[in-house]
């Protein structure tokens, strides 16, 4: 009965409906393109500025923190947010605002280092595979398949567990599982470019393979790789905090957002602000870097930039 009614309805109005829909669609799309071109640039500036502010904050964290992040004041432990301690204090009476600011160095800097390492290593492996081909390509790509087949964080936990705790080992563990994505992208880009005339022309100009790869090939394939690494900053920040939360990252008393949240678990009912502030810090910075990555991807796509 209902179905009948629906098809009847479609028959009656279907024609005019599609017509008006199409008509609307064209007008709307035109308007949207114009608005998007402007907004992509505006978004790029907005999130770029936010990301730079976060970076500056982490560089000058010592100067910005109102208290010594490791200074204990047991008389004032678990104090609720107040004028003296804007975000309250933790179980040892350490100022949470200072700890969140100090933690930005461990969290943001380690993440950027990690992303830089996996981008560089993955790209070099991928370019080598794509360029050289043959058996080395097969072997390295199967190895990367193995890494890609594992659930990332579980494998990172295993690696960090074997290496022992510490921020440095957490970075190594995450780097070990994250490079294959970049190797894949770089390899496919290299394969697509390898037979192009301009690389052949460079060879005919007497360029060494090293020069062909680093002067001609890399600048032409690096775009999508950089976009991927920008999008990865947020993910890596979260995974690094995750490892720290599990006790496989930064060691106490180092201020690091993940381990600070882990430390605050037992205080959730009595002093929820202790967990709230590092959580909010992770949430905000991951969001800023993710949106920045998204915006850069949109910007790098000429179809959304030029129209």
């Amino acid at each position: 009965m209902k179905q009948n009614f629906l098809s009847d309805h479609d028959k009656k109005t279907g024609h005019t409906k599609t017509y008006t829909k199409n008509f609307k669609g064209i007008g709307a799309r035109k308007g949207m393109k114009g608005a998007r071109a402007g907004s992509v640039r505006a978004r790029l500036v907005f999130f770029g500025v936010l990301a730079v502010l976060l970076l500056l904050g982490s560089v000058f964290s010592e100067a910005l923190a109102p208290y010594d992040p490791n200074l204990q004041d047991l008389a004032n432990a678990k104090a609720a947010p107040s004028a003296a301690h804007l975000l309250g204090t933790d179980r040892y009476g350490r100022d949470m605002l200072s700890r969140v600011i100090a933690g930005s160095r461990a969290s943001i800097f380690s993440t950027l280092l990690l992303v830089a390492v996996i981008t560089a290593v993955g790209t070099l492996v991928g370019v080598f595979c794509g360029w050289h081909g043959k058996r080395a390509d097969t072997v390295l790509m199967r190895i990367s398949d193995i890494f890609l087949a594992f659930p990332g964080l579980v494998f990172a936990m295993a690696v960090a567990g074997v290496l022992g705790g510490g921020l440095q080992n957490a970075i190594i563990a995450l780097a070990a599982i994250s490079w294959p994505k970049y190797a894949r992208i770089a390899r496919s880009q290299t394969l697509a470019q390898r037979e192009t005339a301009y690389l052949k022309a460079s060879k005919l100009a007497g360029s060494s393979t090293f020069r062909i790869i680093f002067v001609h090939l890399l600048p032409n394939i690096i775009g999508p790789i950089l976009v991927t690494s920008m999008l990865d900053i947020g993910t890596m920040m979260m995974e690094l905090a995750g490892l720290s939360f599990l006790g496989l990252g930064a060691k106490p008393p180092t201020a690091e957002w993940g381990s600070m949240m882990s430390d605050a678990r037992s205080l959730m009912t009595t002093a929820p602000w202790v967990a709230f502030s590092p959580g909010a810090a992770i949430f905000l910075s991951v969001m800023v870097f993710n949106l920045l990555g998204d915006t850069i991807r949109d910007y790098a796509d000429p179809r959304s930039r030029d129209l």
């Binding site: 192009t196 005339a197 301009y198 022309a201 460079s202 005919l204 007497g206 001609h216 032409n220």
Partner: protein
């Protein structure tokens, strides 16, 4: 040797390339090809798509490796050279590609591309820039083209720049692999007259191998023509003779299809 007066600048002996793909019957792209290129000569190679012309050219420039046979450049076997020794070959052999815009790095200026062979051979940046301006002038392009990017110039201008790049290192052999096929007819004529001028200027120090599927261009421009069919050279001779009395059935078909 034969006449005691002209040593070929390039000699190809029994060159063969077989493409083997897993699960497919091997494809013999070039099948025992032999010929020689004399100093100052313009040699045309014609044949349909897939007849092995481009494979042959890519083997001569060592962009792909030959399976058997020999490539002799001024009497020196270059068939298996690698690394530095191979790079020295490229100061004798240069090539102009079919798609002019694709043959320049999209992220670098035309001037960068033209001067690259010079800088690779030890020229200073300033000297290379000066020479680039001269080369652009030689190819009838204004000097400011050195600062342009490949997407900023037309196909004909880009192909002129490609010729300037090929000439930069003063090679004795220029391979033109369908160098005019992607251009429209009037631009084609300009490029051909440029190549003609270059031949007159350089004389016996400059040989051209002109790969083409346009018989009229070959007749107008070349001293000698090879006809390739299914990886073999089926006919060789002076263009007028080949066109007026073709000996091989394929050549007949090729000429009939045009006239």
């Amino acid at each position: 040797m034969q006449d005691g007066k002209t040593e070929p600048v390039l000699e190809i002996r029994d060159l063969t390339k077989i493409f083997r793909r897993r699960g497919q019957t091997p494809l013999t792209a070039v099948d025992g090809v032999s010929f020689s290129l004399l100093p100052g000569e313009c040699l045309g190679i014609i044949g349909e798509s897939g007849s092995g012309k481009s494979t042959l050219v890519n083997m001569i420039t060592r962009l792909i490796d030959a399976d058997s046979g020999q490539i002799l450049l001024k009497g020196r076997d270059i068939t298996r050279l690698r690394g530095k020794a191979l790079r020295s070959v490229y100061s004798e052999i240069q090539m102009v590609f079919q798609q002019p815009a694709d043959s320049f790095d999209p992220r670098r200026t035309l001037g960068d591309g033209i001067g690259e062979s010079l800088r690779n051979n030890g020229w200073s940046a300033a000297a290379a820039r000066e020479e680039t301006a001269k080369l652009l002038d030689l190819c009838d392009l204004p000097a400011e083209f050195a600062g342009r990017y490949p997407h900023e110039v037309s196909g004909g201008q880009c192909q002129r720049a490609a010729i300037a790049r090929a000439l930069a290192i003063r090679p004795s052999i220029l391979l033109c692999d369908e160098a005019t096929s992607a251009l429209d007819v009037t631009v084609q004529q300009e490029i051909m007259s440029l190549l003609g001028d270059l031949r007159r200027q350089q004389g016996r120090n400059f040989s051209i191998m002109f790969i083409c599927h346009d018989i009229a261009l070959v007749q107008e421009f070349c001293d000698r023509v090879l006809v390739m069919y299914q990886g073999r050279i089926v006919e060789e001779g002076i263009p007028d003779t080949v066109i007026q009395c073709p000996a091989h059935p394929y050549t007949k078909r090729l000429i009939d299809s045009i006239l």
